[in-house]
């Protein structure tokens, strides 16, 4: 569910103590969700933890700029998505990736360090979905977010969220059905 602003709602924290108190509250409240969102996006535990830490660094630095016109939750999730996208759009993945390496990178991605950790048949099949689909499937079914919230977090329309949920379910059904045979 969408969260309203936390302690001192509507009032920007001014002193260092207030800022740290607000940060502690936000980390307790949203830390695990930020980490999960980052992981759904980048599929690397250590990178997700780095992103999570960077998210809260930025939250801490910009607390006094937070205008309260959206919920903390939406603001923090948007920071998370932007950092994940920055990672994806970085030189390593776009400009410095020679043509033939694409297939090698995809194959290597399948043997990254998460492969031992991602236990559970269904969870790993969801994580095998293409990025755009697994994010909405994971946020809807695992994090129990509503389509409106997912749309806000990902910066897309609700209609797109619903379309991706349909496509994701269909693809997942095929993957899981193949496993059953």
């Amino acid at each position: 569910m969408l969260e309203t602003a936390g302690p001192g709602a509507g009032r920007r924290p001014k002193t260092a103590d207030e800022r740290e108190s607000t940060l502690n509250y936000l980390v307790r409240r949203f830390g695990d969700r930020v980490l999960k969102l980052a992981y759904y996006h980048v599929r690397d535990r250590y990178l997700a933890e780095d992103i999570c830490q960077e998210v809260f660094c930025r939250v801490y630095r910009h607390l006094d700029r937070f205008r309260g016109d959206s919920s903390y939750y939406t603001w923090i999730y948007r920071i998370t998505m932007n950092l994940c996208r920055d990672y994806k759009a970085s030189a390593y993945f776009r400009r410095m990736l020679p043509a033939r390496m694409e297939e090698e990178v995809i194959a290597a991605a399948e043997t990254r360090m998460f492969e031992i950790a991602e236990g559970g048949e269904v969870f790993s099949k969801v994580m095998d979905l293409p990025l755009k689909l697994r994010t909405v499937i994971a946020l809807y079914y695992f994090e129990e977010m509503k389509t409106a919230e997912i749309a806000q977090v990902l910066g897309i329309s609700e209609e797109n969220v619903r379309k991706r949920l349909c496509r994701g379910r269909e693809l997942l059904r095929k993957k899981l059905s193949q496993e059953e045979r």
Binding site: L23, Q53, F123
Partner: protein
Amino acid sequence: MNERELDSLLTQGKKEAGDFFSSFMPAPTQLAAEAVSKSRRSWRPQAVRRMALAAACVAAVLAFALLAWLLPHAEYARPGAQPSALAQADDTPVDNVPTETVALGEDKEFRMNHIPTTVHDGAVPGIMTVLWELSGNWSQQMAYSSVFEYCDTVYPAMIIPFSGADYDMLLIASGDSAHGRIGYRLVGYRTNAIQTWWSRDGLPGGDISVQDGVAVEKAADDSQQSGLRVTYIVPIQTTSGALVLPVSRLRLGVGERLLLIGSSTDDVDAESLGGLMSREDSEPYGEAAEMFTAVGTGEDVLQISDGHAGNSLTVSIVEHE
């Protein structure tokens, strides 16, 4: 598998996700302390770093201003030279390339220079392509630059016309003649800056051109019958809330690919209504991209959306000639 069974499995997946994440959740207090500590470390030297960065920027601007003054006077370049002869030429050794003027719109003209350079402490040769934005009073400022590593030849500037959008787009390419590879950048003008929509480096046996209003990439690929993998690159622009494509129809051969690409901040979604275009996993290409492969002959329609606006592209797919 019916819907109820799938829902049941997804519930199981939720539990599996919970178990998985429980193994690597950092303690909240630890995370908060690390965030504060890291913020403080980056804050204290920030003022010093800002001053150093400002000094570096001033030095860079002075260096480029000097280059801008020197280059038009160089033996091989004439200010404002039109690329008339060069446009029909193939890629040209960089030393023989005159300055080109490229116009992306009525009020958006750029001068393009190609400067031999080295990177990685002089270990790697390359070409730096620079776009200078022209304004009144003969003044110009650097709008964009990109290094093509290992390249020594230059393609003429290629414009992708965009009726319906504020600006056309530009394809810049360079070649590595020793290894038969190319690199290119597809750039456009958005939010008062030149931005890269798509870029590639080191394409083997590669070629890039503009055909029928879109960019066409060809790269050597032994897995293809023809030995070449062909990709049609269709950039997407958003203008006044509308999603604009450079063309409304396209013709592909079976096995050829189509890449829909927005700017880096877009989230592009597309669907093949006729099922003749098979979607690839877009993860290697980013969220601003959708890659399709033509798998059947006939006519298909791709319904495209960036989450806010939509458009469609009609694709005619034929067997290879």
